[in-house]
Amino acid sequence: MFSYEKMLQYPVRIKNPNPKYAQIIISQYGGPDGELGASLRYLSQRFAMPYPELKGLLTDIGTEELGHLEMIGAIVYQLTRNLSYDEIKKSGFDAYFTDHTTGVYPTAASGFPFTAASMQSKGDLIADLTEDLAAEQKARVTYDNILRLVDDPDVREPIKFLREREIVHFQRFGEGLRLATDRLDSKNYYICNPSFDDNCGCSCEK
């Protein structure tokens, strides 16, 4: 089960609304490399993970990503307070506003709504962990791109925190992949799939 703690992982405290920034940053809410996709990816992949360290890692990083989703939601919410019609029109936020007012909706910056088509749960630990490494890098690049476009330090600080988390997760997933391959046949990692085949490595290990 899940429970909620009434606090953000890192503070979000934005003084100046900016609908242009909101429409860029919303991509990390519902875009192709965003936090919603990240949490669904890890929390779904974990069911097929054969080793305890990997079940723990996917559960924990998937959970942390839900906390990041909340931070992105808070950033978008705070950037879209007290907007005038003029600001909405001039900033280009009018397209989003028409469909969602200032509600937080999972979409990419391009307007494409959230889709699970940008993630995978392959039921094979090497394929899944390799995807997770790439996913962390893609999210890191998205944060780097956001940092190229955003000047306000109130917005940059939490974005920089989230960017750093992608790097830490990449490191942990790398260690996870190593822990996995250490337990497979070193002559051929792919001879069988420990998430599916019997008698393949130590899939029944407690």
Binding site: S3, Y4, E5, K6, M7, L8, Q9, Y10, P11, V12, R13, I14, K15, E53, G56, L57, D60, I61, E64, E70, G73, A74, Y77, Q78, R81, N82, V168, H169, R172, E175, G176, L179
Partner: protein, 81 residues
């Protein structure tokens, strides 16, 4: 920054240290030094959590009603309130 926000920052820092050790222990489960560090941070977090909840309302879901429903919620900046 008001007193509540300052207390929340302390709580967030302690929680972050605790969480970072937790993730590290997923891939280094028998690292005794890290287990000791985790326990140290955990004690600090529990202390700060109790202090915060006594003064400013609930963070965890074990205090339903008024304490849980108290504003602000985490996504609300206190800048303009």
């Amino acid at each position: 920054m008001n007193k509540r926000e300052a207390a929340m920052r302390r709580l967030q820092s302690a929680k972050f240290a605790l969480w970072e050790m937790h993730l590290y222990l997923d891939t280094h489960p028998e690292d005794l030094e890290s287990i000791a560090a985790y326990k140290k941070y955990e004690a600090k977090y529990v202390l700060l959590l109790n202090e915060f909840e006594e003064n400013y309302g609930a963070v965890t879901q074990f205090a339903p009603g008024v304490a849980w429903l108290k504003n602000p919620w985490p996504w609300e900046s206190e800048v303009c309130d």
